[in-house]
Structures are given as C-alpha cells and as structure tokens.
C-alpha cells in the first residue's frame, strides 16, 4: 500500500503526462507545469520526481528523436504505466470519498 502513495507533486506530474499524450518529454512537462499551475519548478527538481516515479513503476520511458533546437540531442519520452494509472485512480477515489463526507453547509458561503 505504501508504495502506491502519491505525493501532490507526483500526482500532478502523472496527470500532466497523461494530458500531454504522446509528447511528454522533460522540457515539455516542465513548461506545462509552469503554465498550467503557475508555479516555477526547475528541470532538476522535475528530474528527481520523474526518477522517483519511474522507480515506483508508475512511469516508463523510451529514448526518442532528436531535433535541431536541442543541439541534436535525443529526447526521453515518458508514459504512464497501468500501475501509475491505478495509483491515480486510487488517489482520486480516496479524495472523492473524503469530499462526500463533508457536510453540505461547510462550503455554502465560499
């Protein structure tokens, strides 16, 4: 159970990778996080998180094509594995469950 626990940042990364579909490599993920969430994270921090997710088996990666902008360097594409999707689903269910338990009045005035 412990292994499937997702941190907030990790969850965001998984979701972003899923939303990027086939174009999910490091720089793109970083840009997406920076614009979508309006927070500035460094490529280094992202790398640490991606490695961690890969270690947990939530992500798989493959080396892809090179472009001129990258000085001819190849990209590394990430895809979310089934285990990753399951973990996401679990996290969502847990939240939904908790949301349901909140009395209706709590959010009336917000």
């Amino acid at each position: 159970m412990k292994e499937t626990n997702l941190g907030e940042f990790q969850e965001i990364i998984l979701l972003i990778i899923l939303s990027l579909d086939n174009n999910s490599y490091g720089a793109e993920i970083q840009r997406e996080i920076n614009t979508e969430l309006d927070r500035s994270i460094s490529r280094g921090a992202l790398h640490t998180a991606l490695t961690r997710l890969e270690e947990k088996g939530f992500l798989s990666s493959e080396i892809g094509g090179a472009t001129k902008e990258r000085g001819g360097r190849r990209k590394k594409f990430f895809t979310v594995t089934n285990a990753g999707k399951e973990a996401l689903k679990e996290a969502k269910q847990l939240r939904d469950h908790l949301w349901k338990q909140i009395p209706d009045l709590t959010f009336k005035n917000i």
Partner: protein
C-alpha cells in the same frame, strides 16, 4: 554562430562535469531547448540567466555523478608530501623572499586575527540566554521637526500595562529601568550600587542564574533587592545575605531576597544588583516626576521592555498591532510621532546605534569597517606574494617543464603552487599569533570602550577560524601565480622562448606596487590631517578661558559645605558651579519664544552661578552678572550671548536688557546681561543662540580656578577637602583642558587605528618593493656587468635600474594626492564648522617620507648590483 556567442558555455561545461553521463544528453537537451524558446520570449540575457539558474538547480543527488574521493586518482598522498617537500625546499632556497613573504603575511594576518577574534566575540553577546530566539525588545522611533528621526532603545513603561499585557502572542514581559543606583549601607559597610529595576519575570525570560532565593518572587515585593555574587561577598563577606537589610541613600531600606550570578561580560545587560520594579511604582506614589516617568508615553528616559513571545511567527502580527498602538498614541501627543518596533535580543549587540542603550553597544557598521580595513591590508600582502612569486617564476620554468614532461597535469602543477602558498601562510599564521598577542595591549590602550566590548580571547572555534583564514589567505595569494604558471606548455617552457610571456605580467606587477604605495600614502595623509584637525580643535580659542580650571563632579555633595571647605585651600582662587561643561558637546536645550516674533526656537543653555563668567573670563557686553544673594526671582533671570540677540532680533546689547521671553511651558525668562560669543559646542557646529541661567538645583560640577602653578600640592589639598565633603564617591576632578581633549578623543581613537594601519601598509609596501627590486636587479646583473665592462658608470647604472621604480613612486604620489585632496577639502572637512587649513605639509610629509623610504630601498639594492664586480656575474657562462 549567433547561439554560441550568448550561450553560457562555462555553465554547460560545468554541468557536463558534474552530471551523470547517462543523463546529460537528455537534460542538457531539455535545457537547451528551453533556452532557445526563452530567447524568443524573454530576450538573450534573461534566457542565459534562466539557463544558469537551471544548471545551478541541477546540483542534486539524483543528477550528480558519484564523486568518490579517491586520493590516488586526484592526487596521491606521496605526491602531496612531495609538494610540501618542494615547498619547504623552495622556502629555504630563497630565504630573503620567503622571509619577506612570511613577515609581511604574518603582520597583516595579525590584524586579520584580531578582527576575527574581535568580531566573533561580538557574536557571542547574549547567546547564553536559553530562550534567546523568543526574546524581543520594544524600541521607539521618535520623529519631530527639530531633531528629525532617531530611535531609542527605550519604550514607555506604560506601554506594558496599557497594551502589551493584553497581547496573546506575548508569553511574558519584563519592564526594566536603568535608573537605580547610589550609596548603599549595611551595618558595617558602605558601597556603591549600580543596578537595574526589573519585574519578577526577569528570571523567567533571561537565563541569569539565581543562586539563592526564589526566582518566582524575588523581585515581587517593593523594596526587594537581588545582589550579584560579587556584591554579596563584598557586602557580607562569608555570611549569607538573604533576608538582610540594605539602606540605599535617598531611597530607603531594601531587603535582600536573592543572589544572582554575576552577569557575564558578553551580556548587554550589566548590573551588580536588581531591584523589584514595584519599588519604582511605590516610589512614584510620593514623587511626581517618578509618577510621570511611569505613566507618560512621552518619557523615554529609563524604561526598557523585553518580551518573550510564544512563537516567532507571531512577531510580525505583534509588530503590526504595535504600529496601530503607536498611531493611537500619536493622536494624543503634539509635535512628535512615535513608532514602536521590535528588536530581537540577538540583534542588540552587534546592532544598529540607538539612543539610551542600557549596556555596551557595537554598531554593525563599525565591524564592517574594521573587516574592510583588515581585508585591504591582507590583500595588499597577498599582492606581495603574488608579485614575488611571479618574479621568481622565471627561475622555475625548468622545474615546471620537467614536471609537465613527466606527466604532471595542469591541475597538479596548479595544486603544487597553491600548496606552496598555503605552507607559507601557515608558517605566517604562527608568527601572526605571536604578533597579535603583542598587539593586544596597544589596541586596548587606544580607548577604554574597546576593552569593554572586545575580548580577543582565542577559543576553540576562533582557532578553527584562524586555520581556515590562513588557508584562504594562502589560496588567494597563490592563486594567480599558480594559474599563470600551470598554464604554460612544457615544450615552450623548455625551449625558453616563452620566457617573454612572463614579461606580459610586468604591468600587472607594477600596478600592484603602485597600488600598495598609493594605499600607504593615503594612510599617511589621512593620519596627518587627523593630527592637524585634533591639534586645531584642542588649541582653538573658544572665546572663554579654561586655563587652570579644575572641574570637580559634585556627586551629591552639599554645595554650601563644598564652597566653605574648598575656599580654605589657598591654591583655589575662586569657586564657581555649573550644570555642565562648555565646549565638549554635551548640552541641554530649551524651547524659547520671543513674544514679539512668534515662532519658538531650540536654544542651548547652561545653569551657572555668579562666579562662572568671572572664572571663565567671559566678558559681559551689557547688563549685569547674576547676584549671589538675590535668590527671589533668580529662576527667571538669564544672560544671553551675542548670537542670541541676532537670532531673536533684540537689537543692540543694551536694548535687550529687561526683555522677557517665554517657553511653550509658560516659563518666563528676563534678560539681565549679554556676553560676547564663545564656542559652547564642539567645533563641528557653529555658534548659535545660548544663554545662562542660575538654577542651583541643577549644578553638577564645581569649577575651581587655581592660582598656583604648583598643581601637585594644590591637588593634594583638593583631595583632603573632598574626603570631608563627600565620603561615598571618589574624587572626580578633571582639568578643563584635559576634558576638552577627551571630547575630541574620536580623533585620538581614529589616529591610533590609522597610525597602526599606516605603519603596516608602509612596511608591507616597502617589503614588496624590496623584493621586486632585488629580483629585477639580480636578473639584470649580466646586462649590468656587460655595460660596466663596456665603460658604463655606477651612477648611470643605478639610474638605469631605478628609473622604472621611481616612475612608479611618482604615479603612486599623483594618484593618492588626487584622491585624498578632494576627499578632505570637499567631502569630510566641510562638515566641520571650524576646520584646520590643509597646507602643503599635510600632503608633503607623507610624500617625502614614502619617497625617501622607497628611494632608500631602491638605491640600496641597485647600488649593490651596480657595484658588483662584472667578472662575478659573467664568468659562469
């Protein structure tokens, strides 16, 4: 091509160096892609900065490769020993150069060590309090039109009961007042106490250990006193003091409720006794001014408030509510605004300069200035090292070439030179510690204040700083030679053709020498200007006569008894009394209004008796002096100075007599006399309006005009008489002239420090010059020999060898004079109302001194080379 120019290539190679090789392609690719995008959206410079930032943020375990510290891979231990061995051999080989380096470095490092130990001591202040992170002090910024803005360490005591007690974020607070003290008596002894009033929370907040007594209520009841261990033993010898009574003159009986350990020297709170704050409140019941001090928001004279907050995060909120409170207070006061702020306990010493400090203070700015001063001196000696090493490198090209040919990498050669420099710096460290020990008494002798706030003790952590410092100095000194020498290729070094490349650095070396001499010249000029200004201030005719005037602090002695007793001394010609000194900068002020004009002005005044003007030879231009026997309307009579006439538009001196002036507090003053102008303030400020009053209750000093040149016998009699009139206090008698000198002691302190710095910089510069002259002359000995054989004269040869250096000296002179002359004439001295005229000699002295020192250094060495027998230099070929 475009990309290459702006791309931060150094960061890229740095990244390549520390990144795991398997990751580099992906990550650098991503960064570069982003960089290209950024250029389009943000512009080149911002894109480059974003890239640099990204690279720095890549420094994390998941990205960095494994740096195994493999000594054999980097540099094997035997190699390191070899470097040290080579270093020691080199030091032995060039004794003169090493000597110059070690002595120079150790001299300047001694200064560095003093600064390190001094500054690190400053940071131990108040660190012993266990809750130091939570303790804050309320300080008050006052703003008014006359003084502008200034900040007091004090806060009105009423703020505690009126406001702070209701704040939830404050755990505890203690009110402290500094006014406690006086003559204390037990059955057998009389001693002076100098302490503070404090609430009983004092011991909860601060970590002063209560040795005997109950911390929770020792400072609870009125008239409770807690003595320090030292005071207890002085009062009661071996007996326990708890429960005993002590009578304090003019206040009453106190009961000893506790014994506290002596406050350490590095505490900003210093006391030899603590008295319950409730005493002050009890006293206030019968004393109106005490009552006012406790209950007025405008009284910032004695009260300090220290808080223990329950959480550091609540400080911001507390500051906000304090500023709300201060605006409420500001609605009730006129002409002024108050702003209450919080100051962390650890920011008090060292910290910013505040008025009404309770203990010693040390401005952070002063510490920074000292560090910079030390830094400049140390850099100057590091230059010497660089200079000499570069010069000597010419003789070591073969050694470097061989090392490189045998497979030494550039880094290894670099390391070798750094090790050499560090070895020298470490040797210098030991000499420096001896030097600094020898210097301590001198530093302490400059001013008493220094002894109060510095200890210069070498503790374990300070010793570690010393070692670190020596290594850093070594690395800085050896860096440039190491870089330059390790850069050369072995082949070129062996061929010898590349030797000329070293000559490229001749300009750099010259620049360094010029810099050093400029620095020492500036120091000498500054010192001589200070001497001149000090002499000028002390000798200035202030418009009143202070010769043979002995000022004695009354310290509560009865004025009439004093007069009777001292007038019996034949050496005393006349006795006058006053509330203070003229001409030393301590002043009292009054707001005065001329009803005819309207606006009121702040005027300085002094309270004096009928003899004061005569004693100090201040001539009356009109009207009459105070009358000793007419005490009826005495309070409202004043004698004004000439400037007063002008500022208040009172016309001629005679017209002013009898005019009545008022204060905003509705006191009236009637002018009875007009004196000529005199300098009542320090010479920094011009003469303004000033007046004398006759208010005996404010008299603090007796001014004895002595008529005998035999000071010593007079002084003995003064001492005997003093013992009769005041048994508590020791005689505090100062000749007026000495007091004036003391008022300008700023110059003396500055002179002490600058004089010392000057000596150092001159020594260092001369040593650097000596080294470089010796080396250059020697390296040209063959040229000199050939010239000599061909018939050149000694004089001509000396000129040939010296002219470069003499040119450098001229440069240094020009630069330093063109810096200091405008500095003093347009920036520093214009702030002084009376300034000494700077003549040729203030600048000429330094130039001539440095010039002749430099010349002696140069000529003595070049002459030796020029006189040498040519055969000795050539016969080896």
């Amino acid at each position: 091509m475009e990309k290459k120019k702006i791309f931060p290539v150094h960061f890229e190679s740095f990244f390549r160096w520390f990144c795991k090789p398997t990751l580099f392609e992906e990550l650098q690719g991503d960064l570069e892609e982003q960089f290209i995008l950024d250029i389009k959206s943000k512009g080149k410079r911002k894109a480059a900065w974003a890239y640099r930032k990204e690279v720095i943020l890549m420094l994390r375990p998941s990205v960095m490769r494994n740096f195994k510290l493999n000594l054999y891979q980097l540099n094997s231990m035997p190699m390191l020993f070899n470097y040290i061995k080579t270093a020691v051999r080199n030091i032995r080989k060039g004794m003169l150069f090493s000597g110059i380096n070690i002595v120079g470095l150790s001299l300047s490092m001694a200064v560095g060590l003093l600064v390190i130990s001094g500054i690190s001591y400053q940071f131990t202040f108040d660190q012993f309090h266990q809750k130091k992170e939570q303790i804050y002090r309320v300080i008050t910024e006052v703003n008014d039109s006359y003084f502008g803005s200034r900040t007091y360490a004090t806060a009105p005591a009423i703020l505690a009961s009126d406001f702070l007690n209701d704040q939830e974020s404050i755990d505890k607070l203690v009110r402290i007042s500094s006014g406690f003290g006086g003559k204390a008596k037990t059955e057998s002894k009389a001693l002076l106490l100098d302490g503070i009033y404090a609430d009983k929370e004092f011991f909860d907040i601060f970590s002063f250990q209560l040795l005997e007594g109950d911390a929770s209520n020792a400072l609870d009841n009125p008239f409770s006193i807690v003595l320090t261990k030292e005071m207890e033993s002085r009062f009661f010898d071996q007996e326990s003091a708890i429960g005993k009574a002590i009578e304090i003159e003019d206040i009453g009986f106190f009961q000893v409720t506790g014994i506290v350990e002596d406050p350490p020297v590095n505490s900003h709170l210093r006391f030899n006794s603590l008295v319950s704050f409730s005493t002050l409140e009890a006293l206030a019941l019968s004393n109106e001014s005490q009552n006012d001090a406790l209950n007025s928001f405008e009284n910032l004279n004695y009260g300090y408030i220290y808080l223990l907050v329950n959480d550091q995060s609540s400080v911001q909120g507390l500051e906000n509510s304090l500023s709300v409170k201060s605006s409420i207070v500001n609605n009730q006061v006129k002409n002024k605004t108050y702003a209450y702020q919080l100051q962390a306990l650890t920011d008090i010493v060292p910290g910013k300069a505040l008025n009404n400090q309770i203990g010693p203070e040390m401005e952070t700015l002063v510490l920074i200035i000292f560090s910079i001063l030390a830094g400049v001196i140390i850099f100057s000696t590091c230059f010497n090292y660089t200079n000499l090493s570069l010069a000597r490198a010419l003789g070591r090209t073969k050694e470097i070439a061989v090392r490189k040919a045998l497979g030494g990498s550039r880094f290894q050669v670099f390391l070798q030179f750094i090790v050499e420099a560090v070895v020298i710096a470490l040797l210098a460290l030991f000499v420096a510690i001896l030097f600094s020990e020898a210097l301590k008494p001198y530093i302490f002798s400059i001013d008493v204040a220094i002894r109060d706030t510095f200890s210069f003790k070498i503790t374990m952590s300070v010793a570690l700083y010393f070692l670190l410092f020596a290594v850093i100095v070594g690395v800085i000194a050896g860096f440039l030679p190491a870089i330059i020498l390790s850069k050369q290729s072995a082949l070129k070094l062996l061929k010898g053709a590349d030797q000329f490349r070293f000559l490229r650095f001749i300009n750099l070396r010259k620049g360094l020498i010029i810099f050093q001499f400029t620095l020492s010249l500036i120091c000498i000029i500054v010192a001589s200007v200070l001497v001149k200004q000090f002499q000028f201030s002390v000798d200035f005719d202030m418009g009143f006569d202070r010769e043979q005037v002995l000022n004695i602090k009354l310290n509560g002695a009865d004025q009439q008894i004093f007069r009777d007793e001292f007038s019996r001394i034949p050496e005393v010609k006349r006795i006058s009394m006053s509330s203070g000194y003229l001409g030393v900068g301590a002043r009292s002020k009054y707001w005065i209004q001329n009803p005819a004009l309207g606006d009121s002005m702040v005027v300085d005044y002094l309270s004096v008796d009928h003899n004061y003007l005569i004693n100090h030879n201040i001539p009356l231009l009109a009207g009459k002096n105070f009358d000793e026997f007419d005490s009826e309307s005495r309070d409202e009579l004043i004698i004004i100075n000439e400037e007063f006439l002008k500022e208040f538009q009172l016309g001629m001196p005679l017209d002013a007599i009898g005019n009545v002036l008022t204060t905003p507090g509705n006191t009236t003053f009637r002018i009875i006399g007009v004196t000529s102008n005199f300098n009542y303030d320090r010479l920094r400020n011009p003469i303004k309006s000033f007046f004398f009053t006759y208010q005996p209750e404010y008299f603090q000093y007796a001014n004895l005009k002595m008529n005998s040149p035999d000071i010593i016998s007079g002084m003995e009699k003064v001492e005997t008489s003093w013992e009769k009139v005041n048994q508590v206090y020791e005689l505090d008698a100062v000749f007026y002239d000495d007091r004036v000198e003391e008022a300008y002691s700023f110059y003396k302190i500055a002179l002490g420090i600058i004089g010392f710095v000057t000596l150092l910089t001159v020594l260092i510069a001369c040593m650097g010059l000596l080294g470089i002259v010796v080396y250059t002359s020697k390296s040209r000995s063959k040229e000199v020999a050939i010239r000599k054989v061909l018939g050149a004269e000694e004089k001509g040869l000396v000129y040939l060898l010296s002219k470069n250096f003499i040119g450098m000296m001229i440069w240094a002179t020009l630069v330093s004079v063109s810096i200091t002359f405008p500095l003093f004439n347009f920036l520093v001295l214009p702030n002084e109302a009376y300034k000494a005229d700077l003549g040729f000699w203030e600048f000429g002295f330094g130039v001539i001194l440095i010039g002749s020192l430099g010349l002696i250094t140069i000529i003595s060495q070049t002459l030796r080379v020029a006189r040498a027998n040519p055969v000795d230099s050539i016969h080896k070929e």
